[in-house]
Symmetry: C2
Subunit: 274 residues, 2 copies
Protein backbone atom coordinates (compact mmCIF):
# COMPACT_ATOMS: atom_id res chain seq x y z
CA UNK A 1 0.00 0.00 0.00
CA UNK A 2 1.43 3.37 -0.93
CA UNK A 3 -1.23 5.43 0.80
CA UNK A 4 -3.74 5.19 3.61
CA UNK A 5 -6.52 3.62 1.57
CA UNK A 6 -6.87 0.05 2.70
CA UNK A 7 -5.69 0.64 6.23
CA UNK A 8 -9.24 0.60 7.51
CA UNK A 9 -11.73 -2.19 6.87
CA UNK A 10 -14.35 0.10 5.37
CA UNK A 11 -11.94 1.49 2.79
CA UNK A 12 -10.34 -1.81 1.81
CA UNK A 13 -13.70 -3.61 1.72
CA UNK A 14 -15.34 -1.01 -0.53
CA UNK A 15 -12.46 -0.36 -2.95
CA UNK A 16 -13.67 -0.08 -6.54
CA UNK A 17 -11.19 -0.67 -9.35
CA UNK A 18 -11.93 0.86 -12.70
CA UNK A 19 -11.81 -1.79 -15.43
CA UNK A 20 -13.26 0.14 -18.35
CA UNK A 21 -15.21 3.31 -19.06
CA UNK A 22 -17.75 3.58 -16.24
CA UNK A 23 -17.15 -0.04 -15.20
CA UNK A 24 -15.72 -1.07 -11.84
CA UNK A 25 -14.78 -4.29 -10.11
CA UNK A 26 -15.51 -4.61 -6.41
CA UNK A 27 -15.22 -7.47 -3.96
CA UNK A 28 -18.19 -8.17 -1.71
CA UNK A 29 -16.56 -8.89 1.63
CA UNK A 30 -18.03 -11.44 4.03
CA UNK A 31 -17.09 -9.12 6.90
CA UNK A 32 -20.26 -7.04 6.79
CA UNK A 33 -22.95 -9.72 7.00
CA UNK A 34 -26.22 -9.69 8.90
CA UNK A 35 -26.76 -13.41 9.25
CA UNK A 36 -25.47 -14.66 5.91
CA UNK A 37 -26.36 -11.59 3.78
CA UNK A 38 -24.23 -8.48 3.32
CA UNK A 39 -25.79 -5.47 5.04
CA UNK A 40 -27.62 -3.08 2.72
CA UNK A 41 -25.64 -0.05 3.78
CA UNK A 42 -22.38 -1.87 3.09
CA UNK A 43 -23.57 -2.90 -0.36
CA UNK A 44 -24.63 0.68 -1.03
CA UNK A 45 -21.09 1.77 -0.13
CA UNK A 46 -19.75 -0.47 -2.88
CA UNK A 47 -21.81 1.56 -5.32
CA UNK A 48 -20.85 4.94 -3.89
CA UNK A 49 -17.18 3.94 -4.03
CA UNK A 50 -17.52 3.76 -7.81
CA UNK A 51 -19.98 6.65 -8.07
CA UNK A 52 -17.63 9.06 -6.32
CA UNK A 53 -14.98 8.41 -8.97
CA UNK A 54 -17.40 9.48 -11.71
CA UNK A 55 -18.91 12.49 -9.98
CA UNK A 56 -15.86 14.58 -10.65
CA UNK A 57 -13.71 16.95 -8.65
CA UNK A 58 -16.16 19.83 -8.56
CA UNK A 59 -18.83 17.70 -6.89
CA UNK A 60 -17.05 15.69 -4.19
CA UNK A 61 -19.98 15.24 -1.80
CA UNK A 62 -22.76 12.71 -2.05
CA UNK A 63 -25.97 14.70 -1.47
CA UNK A 64 -28.65 12.05 -1.98
CA UNK A 65 -28.75 8.41 -2.96
CA UNK A 66 -31.67 6.04 -3.43
CA UNK A 67 -31.07 2.31 -3.71
CA UNK A 68 -33.53 -0.36 -4.77
CA UNK A 69 -32.56 -3.77 -3.41
CA UNK A 70 -33.44 -6.31 -6.07
CA UNK A 71 -31.83 -9.52 -4.82
CA UNK A 72 -29.50 -10.41 -1.93
CA UNK A 73 -25.83 -9.84 -2.66
CA UNK A 74 -23.47 -12.81 -2.35
CA UNK A 75 -20.60 -12.30 0.10
CA UNK A 76 -17.06 -13.43 -0.62
CA UNK A 77 -17.39 -12.92 -4.35
CA UNK A 78 -16.54 -10.19 -6.84
CA UNK A 79 -19.18 -7.93 -8.30
CA UNK A 80 -19.35 -5.48 -11.16
CA UNK A 81 -20.51 -1.92 -10.71
CA UNK A 82 -21.56 0.06 -13.73
CA UNK A 83 -21.97 3.82 -13.45
CA UNK A 84 -23.87 6.07 -15.81
CA UNK A 85 -23.46 9.82 -15.57
CA UNK A 86 -27.01 11.00 -16.12
CA UNK A 87 -26.56 14.75 -15.98
CA UNK A 88 -23.69 17.01 -15.01
CA UNK A 89 -24.90 20.47 -14.11
CA UNK A 90 -23.27 23.45 -12.48
CA UNK A 91 -24.46 22.60 -8.96
CA UNK A 92 -25.06 18.84 -9.13
CA UNK A 93 -24.05 15.69 -10.93
CA UNK A 94 -26.74 13.02 -11.15
CA UNK A 95 -25.58 9.46 -11.63
CA UNK A 96 -26.96 5.97 -11.74
CA UNK A 97 -25.21 2.80 -10.67
CA UNK A 98 -25.94 -0.90 -10.76
CA UNK A 99 -24.23 -3.71 -8.91
CA UNK A 100 -24.29 -7.14 -10.51
CA UNK A 101 -23.09 -10.60 -9.65
CA UNK A 102 -24.33 -12.45 -12.73
CA UNK A 103 -27.75 -10.90 -12.12
CA UNK A 104 -28.36 -7.34 -11.04
CA UNK A 105 -28.56 -7.03 -7.26
CA UNK A 106 -28.90 -3.30 -6.54
CA UNK A 107 -29.71 -0.22 -8.59
CA UNK A 108 -29.18 3.30 -7.32
CA UNK A 109 -29.73 6.92 -8.31
CA UNK A 110 -27.52 9.56 -6.74
CA UNK A 111 -26.72 13.24 -6.85
CA UNK A 112 -23.36 14.73 -5.93
CA UNK A 113 -22.51 18.33 -5.21
CA UNK A 114 -20.27 20.47 -3.07
CA UNK A 115 -21.45 21.04 0.49
CA UNK A 116 -18.66 23.55 1.11
CA UNK A 117 -20.03 25.81 -1.63
CA UNK A 118 -23.64 25.81 -0.40
CA UNK A 119 -24.40 29.25 0.96
CA UNK A 120 -28.14 29.57 1.61
CA UNK A 121 -29.95 30.02 4.93
CA UNK A 122 -29.91 27.51 7.79
CA UNK A 123 -32.71 26.58 10.20
CA UNK A 124 -32.68 23.30 12.13
CA UNK A 125 -35.91 22.31 13.87
CA UNK A 126 -34.87 18.85 15.00
CA UNK A 127 -32.52 18.05 17.88
CA UNK A 128 -30.14 15.22 18.64
CA UNK A 129 -31.56 12.63 21.02
CA UNK A 130 -30.70 13.09 24.68
CA UNK A 131 -29.01 9.93 25.86
CA UNK A 132 -26.17 9.23 28.29
CA UNK A 133 -22.55 9.41 27.21
CA UNK A 134 -21.27 6.42 25.23
CA UNK A 135 -19.62 4.87 28.29
CA UNK A 136 -22.97 4.85 30.09
CA UNK A 137 -24.80 3.19 27.21
CA UNK A 138 -25.08 -0.49 26.36
CA UNK A 139 -22.24 -1.75 24.18
CA UNK A 140 -23.27 -3.89 21.28
CA UNK A 141 -20.17 -5.52 19.83
CA UNK A 142 -21.88 -8.68 18.78
CA UNK A 143 -24.48 -10.72 20.54
CA UNK A 144 -25.35 -14.22 21.63
CA UNK A 145 -28.64 -14.57 19.77
CA UNK A 146 -28.64 -16.89 16.73
CA UNK A 147 -28.45 -14.14 14.12
CA UNK A 148 -25.80 -12.07 15.88
CA UNK A 149 -23.67 -15.16 16.45
CA UNK A 150 -23.16 -15.53 12.71
CA UNK A 151 -23.18 -11.83 11.87
CA UNK A 152 -19.81 -10.32 11.07
CA UNK A 153 -21.35 -6.86 10.70
CA UNK A 154 -21.51 -5.89 14.38
CA UNK A 155 -17.78 -6.42 14.80
CA UNK A 156 -17.07 -3.57 12.38
CA UNK A 157 -18.64 -1.04 14.76
CA UNK A 158 -18.41 0.22 18.28
CA UNK A 159 -22.09 0.81 18.99
CA UNK A 160 -23.58 2.00 22.29
CA UNK A 161 -27.34 1.84 22.44
CA UNK A 162 -29.52 3.93 24.73
CA UNK A 163 -30.21 2.31 28.12
CA UNK A 164 -33.89 2.65 27.18
CA UNK A 165 -33.45 0.02 24.48
CA UNK A 166 -35.88 -2.68 25.59
CA UNK A 167 -34.93 -5.71 23.55
CA UNK A 168 -31.29 -5.59 24.73
CA UNK A 169 -32.54 -6.65 28.17
CA UNK A 170 -35.18 -9.04 26.85
CA UNK A 171 -38.07 -6.57 27.00
CA UNK A 172 -39.98 -4.77 24.26
CA UNK A 173 -40.90 -1.13 24.73
CA UNK A 174 -43.57 -1.27 22.03
CA UNK A 175 -42.18 1.96 20.56
CA UNK A 176 -40.26 1.24 17.35
CA UNK A 177 -37.26 3.46 17.93
CA UNK A 178 -33.55 2.81 18.27
CA UNK A 179 -31.08 5.41 19.51
CA UNK A 180 -27.36 5.10 19.97
CA UNK A 181 -23.80 6.21 19.49
CA UNK A 182 -21.79 4.52 16.79
CA UNK A 183 -18.36 4.64 15.19
CA UNK A 184 -16.04 2.31 13.32
CA UNK A 185 -14.39 -0.26 15.60
CA UNK A 186 -11.01 0.19 13.91
CA UNK A 187 -10.81 3.92 14.50
CA UNK A 188 -11.67 5.12 10.99
CA UNK A 189 -13.33 8.52 11.27
CA UNK A 190 -16.76 9.11 9.75
CA UNK A 191 -17.01 11.05 6.50
CA UNK A 192 -19.58 11.71 3.80
CA UNK A 193 -18.69 8.44 2.07
CA UNK A 194 -19.49 6.35 5.14
CA UNK A 195 -22.82 8.01 6.01
CA UNK A 196 -24.95 5.68 3.82
CA UNK A 197 -23.45 2.78 5.76
CA UNK A 198 -24.20 4.36 9.12
CA UNK A 199 -27.74 5.05 7.90
CA UNK A 200 -28.33 1.29 7.82
CA UNK A 201 -26.03 0.21 10.66
CA UNK A 202 -28.27 0.12 13.74
CA UNK A 203 -30.68 -2.75 14.46
CA UNK A 204 -34.20 -2.22 13.07
CA UNK A 205 -36.42 0.06 15.16
CA UNK A 206 -39.18 -2.56 14.97
CA UNK A 207 -37.15 -4.88 17.21
CA UNK A 208 -39.03 -3.05 20.00
CA UNK A 209 -42.32 -4.56 18.80
CA UNK A 210 -41.43 -8.20 19.28
CA UNK A 211 -39.36 -10.95 17.69
CA UNK A 212 -38.72 -10.04 14.08
CA UNK A 213 -37.52 -12.38 11.41
CA UNK A 214 -35.98 -10.51 8.55
CA UNK A 215 -36.60 -6.86 7.70
CA UNK A 216 -35.55 -6.66 4.05
CA UNK A 217 -35.12 -3.18 2.65
CA UNK A 218 -37.01 -2.47 -0.56
CA UNK A 219 -35.75 1.08 -0.99
CA UNK A 220 -33.33 3.22 1.00
CA UNK A 221 -32.73 6.94 0.51
CA UNK A 222 -29.99 8.83 2.33
CA UNK A 223 -29.64 12.61 2.28
CA UNK A 224 -26.26 13.92 3.35
CA UNK A 225 -26.74 17.22 5.17
CA UNK A 226 -23.19 17.94 6.28
CA UNK A 227 -19.63 16.68 6.43
CA UNK A 228 -19.25 14.91 9.79
CA UNK A 229 -16.64 15.94 12.31
CA UNK A 230 -14.33 13.23 13.69
CA UNK A 231 -15.63 11.24 16.65
CA UNK A 232 -18.85 9.52 17.60
CA UNK A 233 -22.00 9.70 15.52
CA UNK A 234 -25.31 9.86 17.35
CA UNK A 235 -28.20 8.26 15.49
CA UNK A 236 -31.92 7.89 15.95
CA UNK A 237 -34.11 5.67 13.79
CA UNK A 238 -37.83 5.24 14.14
CA UNK A 239 -40.82 3.79 12.40
CA UNK A 240 -44.02 5.83 12.37
CA UNK A 241 -46.17 3.64 10.18
CA UNK A 242 -46.21 -0.12 9.94
CA UNK A 243 -49.06 -0.98 7.57
CA UNK A 244 -49.83 -4.60 6.71
CA UNK A 245 -46.16 -5.48 7.20
CA UNK A 246 -44.72 -2.58 5.17
CA UNK A 247 -42.83 -0.04 7.21
CA UNK A 248 -40.87 3.13 6.76
CA UNK A 249 -37.87 3.78 8.98
CA UNK A 250 -36.63 7.35 9.27
CA UNK A 251 -33.17 8.16 10.54
CA UNK A 252 -31.23 11.19 11.66
CA UNK A 253 -27.49 11.14 12.23
CA UNK A 254 -25.64 13.80 14.21
CA UNK A 255 -21.90 14.29 14.46
CA UNK A 256 -19.75 14.81 17.55
CA UNK A 257 -20.22 18.57 17.29
CA UNK A 258 -24.02 18.19 17.40
CA UNK A 259 -24.59 18.94 13.74
CA UNK A 260 -27.15 17.05 11.67
CA UNK A 261 -25.14 15.24 8.98
CA UNK A 262 -27.63 12.81 7.43
CA UNK A 263 -31.30 11.95 7.16
CA UNK A 264 -32.47 8.61 5.86
CA UNK A 265 -35.71 6.86 5.06
CA UNK A 266 -36.27 3.32 3.98
CA UNK A 267 -39.28 1.27 2.93
CA UNK A 268 -38.98 -2.27 4.23
CA UNK A 269 -41.00 -5.38 4.87
CA UNK A 270 -41.36 -6.96 8.28
CA UNK A 271 -41.28 -10.70 7.82
CA UNK A 272 -42.31 -12.93 10.71
CA UNK A 273 -39.71 -14.72 12.81
CA UNK A 274 -38.78 -18.28 12.00
CA UNK B 1 -63.68 8.12 -25.97
CA UNK B 2 -64.95 4.66 -25.26
CA UNK B 3 -64.25 4.68 -21.55
CA UNK B 4 -63.87 7.11 -18.70
CA UNK B 5 -60.18 7.79 -19.26
CA UNK B 6 -59.85 11.34 -20.48
CA UNK B 7 -62.93 12.63 -18.72
CA UNK B 8 -60.84 14.17 -15.97
CA UNK B 9 -57.93 16.55 -16.53
CA UNK B 10 -55.45 14.41 -14.59
CA UNK B 11 -56.17 11.34 -16.70
CA UNK B 12 -56.19 13.05 -20.09
CA UNK B 13 -53.11 15.13 -19.24
CA UNK B 14 -51.07 12.12 -18.14
CA UNK B 15 -52.10 9.62 -20.83
CA UNK B 16 -49.13 7.58 -22.08
CA UNK B 17 -49.39 5.95 -25.49
CA UNK B 18 -47.20 2.97 -26.15
CA UNK B 19 -45.19 3.48 -29.34
CA UNK B 20 -42.77 0.58 -29.14
CA UNK B 21 -41.48 -1.95 -26.63
CA UNK B 22 -41.13 -0.02 -23.35
CA UNK B 23 -41.45 3.32 -25.17
CA UNK B 24 -44.28 5.77 -24.61
CA UNK B 25 -45.36 9.11 -25.97
CA UNK B 26 -46.82 11.64 -23.53
CA UNK B 27 -47.86 15.25 -23.92
CA UNK B 28 -46.65 17.72 -21.30
CA UNK B 29 -49.70 19.85 -20.70
CA UNK B 30 -49.41 23.55 -19.92
CA UNK B 31 -52.26 23.17 -17.44
CA UNK B 32 -50.10 22.12 -14.47
CA UNK B 33 -47.53 24.91 -14.37
CA UNK B 34 -46.03 26.66 -11.37
CA UNK B 35 -45.03 29.91 -12.99
CA UNK B 36 -43.89 28.72 -16.40
CA UNK B 37 -42.59 25.28 -15.38
CA UNK B 38 -44.65 22.09 -15.08
CA UNK B 39 -45.03 21.01 -11.45
CA UNK B 40 -42.72 18.16 -10.41
CA UNK B 41 -45.55 15.96 -9.17
CA UNK B 42 -47.35 16.33 -12.48
CA UNK B 43 -44.22 15.42 -14.42
CA UNK B 44 -43.74 12.42 -12.15
CA UNK B 45 -47.29 11.34 -13.02
CA UNK B 46 -46.32 11.26 -16.71
CA UNK B 47 -43.71 8.68 -15.78
CA UNK B 48 -46.00 6.61 -13.56
CA UNK B 49 -48.62 6.57 -16.30
CA UNK B 50 -46.15 4.62 -18.43
CA UNK B 51 -44.65 2.68 -15.51
CA UNK B 52 -48.01 1.29 -14.44
CA UNK B 53 -48.46 -0.26 -17.89
CA UNK B 54 -45.19 -2.16 -17.51
CA UNK B 55 -45.60 -3.25 -13.89
CA UNK B 56 -48.08 -5.92 -14.85
CA UNK B 57 -51.42 -7.10 -13.54
CA UNK B 58 -50.11 -8.81 -10.42
CA UNK B 59 -48.50 -5.62 -9.14
CA UNK B 60 -51.06 -2.85 -9.72
CA UNK B 61 -49.99 -0.52 -6.91
CA UNK B 62 -47.12 1.91 -6.92
CA UNK B 63 -45.32 1.35 -3.61
CA UNK B 64 -42.36 3.69 -3.90
CA UNK B 65 -40.96 6.04 -6.50
CA UNK B 66 -37.88 8.25 -6.47
CA UNK B 67 -37.43 10.92 -9.11
CA UNK B 68 -34.33 12.95 -9.86
CA UNK B 69 -35.16 16.22 -11.57
CA UNK B 70 -32.43 16.90 -14.09
CA UNK B 71 -33.76 19.82 -16.10
CA UNK B 72 -37.08 21.70 -16.26
CA UNK B 73 -39.69 20.07 -18.47
CA UNK B 74 -41.13 22.12 -21.32
CA UNK B 75 -44.92 22.52 -21.24
CA UNK B 76 -47.09 22.27 -24.33
CA UNK B 77 -44.78 19.81 -26.04
CA UNK B 78 -44.61 16.05 -26.43
CA UNK B 79 -42.15 13.95 -24.47
CA UNK B 80 -40.89 10.41 -24.66
CA UNK B 81 -40.95 8.07 -21.67
CA UNK B 82 -38.79 4.99 -21.72
CA UNK B 83 -39.41 2.26 -19.16
CA UNK B 84 -37.01 -0.49 -18.17
CA UNK B 85 -38.26 -3.40 -16.12
CA UNK B 86 -35.36 -3.91 -13.73
CA UNK B 87 -36.58 -6.91 -11.76
CA UNK B 88 -39.88 -8.74 -11.53
CA UNK B 89 -40.16 -10.72 -8.33
CA UNK B 90 -42.99 -12.47 -6.59
CA UNK B 91 -43.88 -9.53 -4.34
CA UNK B 92 -42.52 -6.53 -6.24
CA UNK B 93 -41.65 -5.28 -9.69
CA UNK B 94 -38.83 -2.72 -9.81
CA UNK B 95 -38.73 -0.42 -12.81
CA UNK B 96 -36.85 2.58 -14.09
CA UNK B 97 -38.21 5.34 -16.27
CA UNK B 98 -36.81 8.36 -18.04
CA UNK B 99 -38.65 11.30 -19.53
CA UNK B 100 -36.99 13.10 -22.40
CA UNK B 101 -37.70 16.10 -24.57
CA UNK B 102 -34.60 16.07 -26.72
CA UNK B 103 -32.53 15.90 -23.54
CA UNK B 104 -33.41 13.82 -20.50
CA UNK B 105 -35.47 15.77 -17.99
CA UNK B 106 -36.37 13.30 -15.24
CA UNK B 107 -35.19 9.85 -14.20
CA UNK B 108 -37.07 7.67 -11.74
CA UNK B 109 -36.81 4.36 -9.92
CA UNK B 110 -40.02 2.71 -8.76
CA UNK B 111 -41.35 -0.45 -7.17
CA UNK B 112 -44.85 -1.78 -7.69
CA UNK B 113 -46.69 -4.41 -5.69
CA UNK B 114 -50.14 -5.34 -4.49
CA UNK B 115 -51.34 -3.51 -1.39
CA UNK B 116 -54.42 -5.72 -1.17
CA UNK B 117 -52.25 -8.80 -0.71
CA UNK B 118 -50.09 -7.35 2.07
CA UNK B 119 -50.97 -9.13 5.29
CA UNK B 120 -48.45 -8.25 7.98
CA UNK B 121 -48.98 -6.33 11.22
CA UNK B 122 -50.14 -2.70 11.43
CA UNK B 123 -49.08 0.00 13.91
CA UNK B 124 -49.54 3.69 13.14
CA UNK B 125 -47.76 6.15 15.45
CA UNK B 126 -48.53 9.31 13.53
CA UNK B 127 -51.88 11.11 13.43
CA UNK B 128 -53.61 13.30 10.88
CA UNK B 129 -53.32 17.02 11.62
CA UNK B 130 -56.19 18.57 13.54
CA UNK B 131 -57.53 21.41 11.46
CA UNK B 132 -61.04 22.78 10.86
CA UNK B 133 -63.34 21.27 8.24
CA UNK B 134 -62.60 22.24 4.63
CA UNK B 135 -65.35 24.88 4.61
CA UNK B 136 -63.70 26.59 7.58
CA UNK B 137 -60.26 26.64 5.97
CA UNK B 138 -58.82 29.14 3.51
CA UNK B 139 -59.56 28.28 -0.10
CA UNK B 140 -56.63 28.52 -2.46
CA UNK B 141 -57.92 28.36 -6.01
CA UNK B 142 -55.28 30.59 -7.45
CA UNK B 143 -53.84 33.77 -6.07
CA UNK B 144 -53.07 37.33 -6.92
CA UNK B 145 -49.31 37.23 -6.34
CA UNK B 146 -47.10 37.34 -9.44
CA UNK B 147 -46.31 33.63 -9.52
CA UNK B 148 -49.86 32.45 -8.84
CA UNK B 149 -51.24 34.79 -11.48
CA UNK B 150 -49.43 32.85 -14.20
CA UNK B 151 -49.69 29.40 -12.58
CA UNK B 152 -52.24 27.07 -14.12
CA UNK B 153 -51.50 24.43 -11.46
CA UNK B 154 -53.67 25.81 -8.65
CA UNK B 155 -56.77 25.69 -10.84
CA UNK B 156 -56.55 21.90 -11.02
CA UNK B 157 -57.18 21.58 -7.28
CA UNK B 158 -59.63 22.56 -4.61
CA UNK B 159 -57.23 23.25 -1.76
CA UNK B 160 -58.18 24.53 1.69
CA UNK B 161 -55.25 25.52 3.84
CA UNK B 162 -55.26 25.62 7.63
CA UNK B 163 -56.31 28.98 9.08
CA UNK B 164 -52.93 28.93 10.84
CA UNK B 165 -51.18 29.39 7.50
CA UNK B 166 -49.33 32.66 7.98
CA UNK B 167 -48.29 33.70 4.49
CA UNK B 168 -51.89 33.51 3.19
CA UNK B 169 -52.62 36.59 5.30
CA UNK B 170 -49.31 38.26 4.68
CA UNK B 171 -47.61 37.01 7.83
CA UNK B 172 -44.88 34.42 8.35
CA UNK B 173 -45.16 31.98 11.24
CA UNK B 174 -41.47 31.10 11.08
CA UNK B 175 -42.40 27.41 11.29
CA UNK B 176 -41.93 25.76 7.88
CA UNK B 177 -45.12 23.71 7.79
CA UNK B 178 -48.13 23.66 5.48
CA UNK B 179 -51.34 21.78 6.31
CA UNK B 180 -54.49 21.52 4.29
CA UNK B 181 -57.29 19.62 2.60
CA UNK B 182 -56.99 19.00 -1.10
CA UNK B 183 -58.83 17.28 -3.94
CA UNK B 184 -59.11 17.58 -7.70
CA UNK B 185 -61.18 20.58 -8.77
CA UNK B 186 -63.02 18.54 -11.43
CA UNK B 187 -64.27 15.88 -9.06
CA UNK B 188 -61.83 13.10 -9.94
CA UNK B 189 -61.37 10.91 -6.87
CA UNK B 190 -57.88 10.28 -5.47
CA UNK B 191 -56.23 6.94 -6.14
CA UNK B 192 -52.79 5.41 -5.88
CA UNK B 193 -51.84 6.82 -9.28
CA UNK B 194 -52.51 10.39 -8.23
CA UNK B 195 -50.72 10.28 -4.85
CA UNK B 196 -47.29 11.30 -6.25
CA UNK B 197 -48.99 14.40 -7.65
CA UNK B 198 -50.65 15.24 -4.33
CA UNK B 199 -47.27 14.72 -2.62
CA UNK B 200 -46.00 17.78 -4.50
CA UNK B 201 -49.22 19.79 -4.76
CA UNK B 202 -49.17 22.09 -1.72
CA UNK B 203 -47.09 25.26 -1.56
CA UNK B 204 -43.62 24.78 -0.06
CA UNK B 205 -43.50 24.63 3.73
CA UNK B 206 -40.65 27.16 3.69
CA UNK B 207 -43.07 29.86 2.53
CA UNK B 208 -43.55 30.40 6.28
CA UNK B 209 -39.95 31.59 6.59
CA UNK B 210 -40.17 34.57 4.27
CA UNK B 211 -40.35 35.41 0.61
CA UNK B 212 -38.98 32.49 -1.38
CA UNK B 213 -37.92 32.56 -4.97
CA UNK B 214 -37.90 29.15 -6.47
CA UNK B 215 -37.67 25.87 -4.51
CA UNK B 216 -36.46 23.42 -7.14
CA UNK B 217 -36.72 19.75 -6.21
CA UNK B 218 -33.53 17.76 -6.61
CA UNK B 219 -35.01 14.42 -5.54
CA UNK B 220 -38.52 13.38 -4.54
CA UNK B 221 -39.48 10.02 -3.03
CA UNK B 222 -43.07 9.00 -2.43
CA UNK B 223 -44.11 5.90 -0.49
CA UNK B 224 -47.69 4.77 -1.05
CA UNK B 225 -49.02 3.31 2.18
CA UNK B 226 -52.62 2.62 1.22
CA UNK B 227 -55.28 2.96 -1.46
CA UNK B 228 -57.13 6.22 -0.70
CA UNK B 229 -60.88 6.31 -0.12
CA UNK B 230 -62.94 8.78 -2.19
CA UNK B 231 -63.17 12.32 -0.85
CA UNK B 232 -60.81 14.89 0.56
CA UNK B 233 -57.15 14.23 1.24
CA UNK B 234 -55.60 15.83 4.30
CA UNK B 235 -51.92 16.63 3.93
CA UNK B 236 -49.14 17.96 6.12
CA UNK B 237 -45.70 18.93 4.83
CA UNK B 238 -42.87 20.24 6.91
CA UNK B 239 -39.19 21.00 6.76
CA UNK B 240 -37.06 20.05 9.75
CA UNK B 241 -33.65 20.95 8.43
CA UNK B 242 -32.70 23.80 6.16
CA UNK B 243 -28.90 23.72 5.90
CA UNK B 244 -27.05 26.26 3.76
CA UNK B 245 -30.08 26.46 1.45
CA UNK B 246 -30.64 22.72 1.10
CA UNK B 247 -33.84 21.47 2.69
CA UNK B 248 -35.80 18.29 3.09
CA UNK B 249 -39.59 18.44 3.06
CA UNK B 250 -41.47 15.51 4.56
CA UNK B 251 -45.12 14.90 3.81
CA UNK B 252 -47.92 12.73 5.09
CA UNK B 253 -51.21 12.33 3.27
CA UNK B 254 -54.35 10.96 4.91
CA UNK B 255 -57.58 9.94 3.19
CA UNK B 256 -61.17 10.86 4.08
CA UNK B 257 -61.40 7.84 6.36
CA UNK B 258 -58.37 8.98 8.37
CA UNK B 259 -55.97 6.40 6.97
CA UNK B 260 -52.37 7.24 6.14
CA UNK B 261 -52.07 6.72 2.37
CA UNK B 262 -48.71 8.28 1.50
CA UNK B 263 -45.44 9.55 2.93
CA UNK B 264 -43.09 11.70 0.92
CA UNK B 265 -39.71 13.31 1.29
CA UNK B 266 -37.89 15.60 -1.05
CA UNK B 267 -34.50 17.25 -1.12
CA UNK B 268 -34.74 20.73 -2.56
CA UNK B 269 -32.85 23.99 -2.82
CA UNK B 270 -34.20 27.25 -1.51
CA UNK B 271 -33.21 29.94 -3.97
CA UNK B 272 -33.59 33.57 -2.94
CA UNK B 273 -36.47 35.65 -4.25
CA UNK B 274 -35.55 37.52 -7.40
Amino acid sequence: MDDDVGVFAFDSDTAATRTADSAYEVHVSDGWNIGTNPNGGYVLSLLTSALAQEAGDGHPDLLTITAHYLRPTTPGEPAQVHVEQVRQGRRHTHLQATLAQGTERVRALAAYGNLAEADGPTLIRTEPPEIPDPDDCAARHGGSDPVSAVSSFMHRFDTRLSPETGWLRGERTGVPRVVGWTRFADGREPDVASLPLFADALPPAVFELGPAGWVPTIELTVHVRGRPAPGWLLARFETRALVDGYLEEDGEIWDSEGRLVAQSRQLALLLPAG
